[in-house]
């Protein structure tokens, strides 16, 4: 279960290699088979013990406070705000490709830097390695997001290619890259990112920091697509403008939510400890 064994894309959902059995699934697995593990939503703490090198890292990572998460999100928000001020008001509607490009260019370094700094295994993994993970994750996540969008009905005409690419890069920065930087290729964590159960069962702090903005962005984009078939004949109904608005709004809500969730979680843990 080391990172070298399976790159981030392969562990998430790699449509190009569907026949390959995932390493953890077969019975004669090298690492995971050592101990019998209960479903992680039920007992996340024990699930983490499963991976030895991570349990070492746990001690230093759990220190992430609501404040740290909030600071990280503020930095990311600053990136978005900078792009917005550079592009100018209404740029997304008038020239979506340029506005999205600016957003990606401003946001990418910030996100990769911030989340590589917050990587979960700082001992075993250097900052640059985490940043490289993020850089690899960027196109992979973009591909996955573009696949999802196109399956959901995004237009595939040639004139939409550029905006689709930029949009999916932006979505990748909102969803995939932070997780890639922080978690690397740890399967359980990826599974937690995909799951919605973290909102109901106590889990680790990073999950809130990563998942809430990610889920917010996806949900926002999904909801943002609803006005598209209406016959209002507004320019912002074009792909991907309202979807981008929705995604950014959802992402911001998620970013605002995650420190709150972390704070609530900490209080709960403290109460339990008492």
């Amino acid at each position: 279960m080391r990172e070298a064994a399976s790159p981030p894309g392969g562990s998430a959902s790699n449509p190009s290699r569907p026949h390959q059995p995932p390493p953890g699934a077969s019975e004669d697995r090298p690492a995971g088979g050592r101990s019998r593990v209960t479903p992680p939503q039920l007992q996340p703490q024990r699930a983490c013990l499963n991976v030895p090198n991570r349990s070492r890292a746990m001690a230093s990572v759990t220190e992430i406070s609501a404040f740290t998460a909030a600071a990280a999100h503020v930095l990311c928000f600053a990136g978005l705000a900078a792009a917005h001020s550079l592009a100018g008001r209404g740029a997304l509607v008038s020239d979506p490709a340029r506005a999205l490009r600016l957003l990606v260019v401003c946001e990418a370094p910030v996100v990769i830097a911030v989340f590589s700094y917050l990587r979960r295994d700082p001992k075993s993994c250097s900052f640059f390695k985490a940043a490289a993970r993020g850089l690899i994750g960027l196109p992979v996540g973009a591909f996955l997001n573009a696949f999802g969008a196109i399956v959901l009905g995004a237009p595939v005409g040639i004139k939409y290619w550029m905006v689709t690419i930029y949009w999916s890069l932006l979505m990748s920065l909102f969803t995939f890259v932070p997780a890639a930087c922080v978690f690397g290729a740890s399967k359980i964590d990826w599974q937690n990112v995909l799951s919605h159960s973290i909102y109901f069962t106590p889990t680790e702090v990073e999950n809130y920091m990563i998942s809430a903005p990610c889920h917010g962005a996806v949900l926002g984009a999904w909801l943002g697509a609803w006005p598209m078939p209406l016959d209002w004949e507004r320019p912002w109904q074009e792909w991907p403008i309202c979807v981008t608005y929705g995604a950014v709004a959802g992402h911001l809500v998620g970013m605002a939510m995650s420190p709150v969730l972390i704070a609530v979680h900490k209080r709960r843990v403290r109460a339990k400890a008492d």
Partner: protein, 985 residues
């Protein structure tokens, strides 16, 4: 429990049917119309007793008929020639002003000639209120027949658009008038054989405002010079197009009105040249327009249409042309009929327009009113069979006048007898020398006639458009009740399931917490129901379904990936699963020995197939109403060579045949019956191929006999082989295991096992046969361009079933059933269907039918339109065969319960939710602008979808029940009879 659930379900369905039919009856009233044409009998007083429709008088030649009518009418026709000029979409307000005020100066100046005629009292103008739906074809029908058709007329007259009711044009034609038509081709659709000369223009290119009118006016000079016609119909579409583009205040509007004014001037001056003043020019509009230039609803702006009469009989010494002269659009029919000396059309509910008969003597005026009253009386008698005029007169004659008549019937009686009595007395005083007395008598009888006519007309038109509110509310209550019944049944089912789950499957990792897909399905249905309230979302429903379905399958993808990521955990599940599968039938035999990794791969693959196929289907037809002109694959293919389409069709047929063969291979039993079905399927596939290629060779001939006979051969073979499969499949399977596993059948347990195998195998065979034959039938009937989408929908069905059978614990069963139903709806729109009635494929409904039959072609039309949802219901039969039904208690009712309750109840419930909520939406929107153009057609689709659900559920239920019944019967008899072995080998 099973019996109770079934009882509740049946009760719910019955309630739903009752509610739906009540609502349909209330919302779309079908008024009784009189068949046939008015003849000489319309000049006689209607007699009592039943309306005798049968007595047909011998058809007279036109000139004899004309003189007969003249004789019977006791007056000569006022005009000989008619120019009916229809200006599409012109609001009366533009010409006559509003509320007693003349129109704005700009509008006045844009029609100088018309305004001068109005000011000179040479023309009489009316605000002729049009009845909704304010679209062209129904309005033209109303004008020429005087009847307000119901909305369902549109739906019922699908195959033939020709107008069959009694109407002015046919009557004029019958007495020898020669008709010429220039303009909108709707007239030609309505009267395909009537016109001696015609030039139809299509309203298709709404962007064109110039050419469309030029094509009419270019003939004008010739036609005005020609003397051979006596009825000229001009229909100008340009003004409506101007409205659609720029609304009422479009810059093009005044220019267009000037053009129309010019035409009026030309026609009028040409008619004046005759000097005989025998030509009547009538300028009408079929409907008005809203501020934005749309029409279809029932607002004042849309219904305010114009009726302007220009001719000698309307001239009067003084007038006030801009008074708000209200009339109904249908009043045109009796007015024109009496001006031209023909009988009033039978179903007319209009009333004579008084100012148009100025040139007649008082007696003639009274005669026209009498004729109109008799005609309306006949119509009343058709609506109220007991109503009789003679009784009225006898009953009331001596008694004097009742001041407050109670019932409508008595009110009619009273008004009518008053009118006839006063007419009689005015006739008696005719000879008297006191002019004032005579005028007074005439005045009262005219008043009395109008009293009756207006009341009767109003009553009749309300009969046609009124909606009995309480009836509709009670219908909706019935539907809500049925919906609640179904919900109750489903919740019972869930309760029962969770109980049995805690008993049996405690080790299952399915916890009671809500999963993402389940939450999404509930949210999605809620969002869909909300979206039904918006006309845009109803118009573009294909987006909603595609979006929801793709999202659902993306969530499946995420769940699958998540399960894969769970690594160690999933192995346990698989192990447990495999333990349960041990000895259990699994029709995809290969997946039986799959390693978990391979299984995961297949799971991913099947979902990806569904997703990608769904996207391709989405791109195939743009669909909808607003963006239907956007490019899509079907338009690309339509431009391409037809051989490409043919080869795509061939590929689809071959793929379907191949898939069926593969699935039969997976079936472990290969009895003669299976091979027979397989062969007949291949034969049917060949027939479809032959039909496709035959069509290509003879593209010039629309109907040719060889294709018809091929299609018939296909229908015959397919129905025989399907029914043979259904009947035979439960009889051929169970013996199989007694041959292969003789060692294990020592005690009673294996016998039960065998039973469940038999059920699965035979249901699988039946379901697969259903699905593939359905697929072939669709390939035969659908437009050639839909071949690939059909194949893709079939692939989606198969992959979904495979996905659900590969991992039975990943998604709950109700999620799986609903996912399949979602696929069906997405596919329905993927085949190019929309929520407007225009997209129904009428051409396919005549394949294999040589003579016209409404029922047969209606059934074919239904099959074509609901091809995709029905395919998914048939696929559901395959799906239930994949279910894990080996349980300790092998009671057949228990098996049945596990197999069919969910796939039957859930579609019914979802359909019931959609139907009920949409009915409520329709009731709320009954005064909405788009109620006739958007919401009502969609309601017809919702009703048809309900029928489709019933058909699908019925098929699933009967197949499963029959199979179980036969197997139980056999198990009860000899456990393993020698006959079984004989049948297998």
């Amino acid at each position: 429990m099973g019996a109770a659930v079934a009882g509740w379900t049946v009760a719910a369905v019955l309630l739903q049917v009752a509610g739906l039919s009540l609502f349909l009856y209330g919302f779309f009233p079908v008024k009784p119309t009189l068949r046939g044409f008015s003849g000489p009998e319309s000049y006689r007083m209607p007699s009592c007793g039943p309306v005798s429709a049968g007595e047909q008088e011998p058809a007279l030649p036109p000139d004899q008929l004309r003189s007969l009518y003249r004789e019977l009418a006791e007056m000569p026709p006022v005009y000989d020639r008619l120019v009916l000029m229809v200006i599409d979409g012109l609001p009366a307000e533009f010409v006559l002003g509003k509320g007693g005020k003349p129109p704005s100066k700009e509008l006045m100046e844009s029609m100088p000639y018309t305004q001068s005629l109005l000011a000179g009292c040479q023309a009489a103008g009316y605000h002729a209120k049009a009845a909704p739906p304010t679209v062209t074809m129904p309005r033209l029908k109303a004008m020429v027949s005087g009847a307000i058709g119901g909305f369902l007329d549109v739906a019922f007259n699908f195959n033939t658009q020709a107008f069959l009711e009694d109407n002015l044009l046919d009557q004029l034609h019958m007495i020898g008038h020669k008709l010429v038509m220039l303009g909108d081709d709707t007239w030609i659709k309505l009267f395909p054989t009537l016109f001696a000369r015609q030039d139809g223009v299509s309203s298709f290119y709404v962007r064109d405002t110039v050419e469309v009118d030029f094509n009419v006016s270019r003939h004008l000079e010739f036609e005005l010079a020609a003397k051979d016609w006596s009825v000229l119909v001009l229909h100008y579409l340009g003004l409506d197009h101007v409205g659609h583009i720029g609304g009422r205040r479009s810059v093009l509007m005044t220019q267009k009105m000037k053009e129309m004014d010019d035409v009026i001037r030309k026609v009028h001056s040409a008619s004046l040249q005759d000097n005989l003043e025998r030509t009547l020019l009538v300028v009408v509009s079929d409907h008005g327009m809203t501020e934005g230039g749309n029409h279809g609803g029932s607002s004042y702006e849309e219904t305010d249409s114009l009726a302007l009469f220009i001719g000698h009989s309307v001239e009067r010494p003084h007038c006030s042309p801009y008074d708000q002269n209200e009339a109904l659009q249908v009043d045109l029919a009796p007015t024109l009929a009496l001006l031209f000396g023909i009988p009033i059309p039978k179903n007319n509910i209009g009333v004579l327009l008084p100012e148009v008969f100025n040139s007649l003597t008082d007696n003639q005026k009274l005669r026209t009113l009498e004729l109109n009253s008799w005609q309306i009386l006949r119509l009343l008698q058709a609506q109220m069979p007991a109503f009789c005029l003679e009784d009225c007169i006898n009953w009331e004659g001596g008694l004097g006048i009742v001041v407050h008549p109670e019932s409508t019937e008595k009110k009619f009686c009273h008004l009518l007898s008053k009118a006839f009595v006063s007419h009689q007395s005015s006739r008696l005083h005719q000879g008297s020398n006191f002019m004032s007395a005579e005028a007074q008598y005439v005045g009262t009888s005219v008043e009395n006639y109008y009293g009756f006519l207006r009341y009767a007309s109003e009553w009749l038109s309300h009969r046609a458009t009124d909606k009995p509110f309480y009836l509709l509310i009670s219908a909706i209550l019935l539907m809500i009740m049925s919906c609640l019944f179904l919900m109750g049944a489903v919740s019972r089912l869930f309760k029962g399931q969770s109980l049995s789950q805690t008993d049996l499957l405690t080790e299952s990792y399915l916890d009671q917490r809500w999963h993402l897909d389940e939450v999404f399905i509930l949210t999605g249905i809620l969002l869909y129901v909300i979206s039904l309230g918006s006309s845009s979302f109803v118009e573009e429903e294909q987006y909603t379904w595609n979006f929801l379905t793709s999202t659902l399958y993306l969530i499946f993808l995420i769940k699958t990936v998540q399960a894969m990521l769970k690594g160690s955990n999933s192995v346990l599940v698989h192990r447990a699963e495999e333990k349960r599968f041990d000895g259990n039938n699994f029709s995809y035999a290969s997946s039986y020995e799959l390693t978990p990794g391979k299984r995961d791969g297949y799971k991913l693959c099947t979902i990806l197939i569904v997703l990608v196929a769904g996207r391709v289907i989405r791109a195939w037809h743009q669909g909808g109403i607003n963006w239907v002109h956007f490019p899509d694959i079907s338009k690309l293919l339509a431009q391409a060579d037809s051989s490409i389409v043919k080869s795509l069709q061939t590929v689809s047929v071959l793929a379907v045949v191949a898939l069926y063969s593969v699935s039969l291979m997976l079936l472990r039993a290969r009895s003669k019956v299976v091979i027979g079905v397989w062969l007949s399927h291949i034969y049917c596939g060949l027939l479809v191929l032959l039909h496709i290629w035959e069509n290509q060779i003879n593209t010039s001939l629309p109907i040719n006999h060889s294709t018809t006979s091929i299609a018939r051969l296909f229908y015959g073979t397919a129905s025989v082989s399907i029914s043979a499969t259904i009947l035979a499949s439960p009889w051929i399977f169970p013996a199989y295991y007694t041959e292969t596993k003789p060692a294990s059948s020592s005690d009673s347990n294996p016998v039960k096992d065998i039973d469940s195998h038999g059920i699965s195998d035979s249901v699988f065979l039946t379901g697969m046969t259903y699905t593939v034959f359905w697929c072939l039938l669709q390939l035969l009937l659908q437009q050639p361009i839909n071949a690939i989408p059909l194949l893709l929908i079939f692939l989606q069905t198969v992959s979904s079933i495979a996905h659900f059978s590969l991992d039975k614990t990943l998604h709950k069963q109700w999620v799986q059933v609903i996912a399949m139903q979602f696929l069906g709806m997405a596919g329905h729109f993927g085949l190019g269907n929309t929520n407007s009635l225009a997209s129904i494929d009428v051409a396919g409904a005549f394949i294999g039918i040589s003579s016209y039959s409404t029922v047969l072609s209606g059934v074919l039309m239904f099959i074509i339109t609901y091809g995709s949802p029905l395919m998914l219901y048939l696929g559901m039969v395959v799906y239930i065969s994949m279910k894990d039904i080996s349980t300790p208690q092998q009671l057949w009712s228990y098996v049945l319960d596990k197999m069919i309750t969910m796939p039957c109840l859930l579609p019914l419930l979802i359909n019931s939710v959609a139907l009920t909520s949409y009915t409520i939406v329709l009731l709320l929107m009954r005064n909405h602008l788009f109620v006739w153009s958007v919401f009502s057609p969609k309601y017809l689709y919702v009703c048809a979808a309900t029928v489709c659900t019933y058909v699908g559920v019925f098929l699933i239920a009967t197949t499963a029940v029959y199979t179980c019944a036969v197997l139980t019967f056999r198990a009860r008899g000899t456990g393993m009879s020698p006959i079984d072995r004989i049948m297998v080998y």
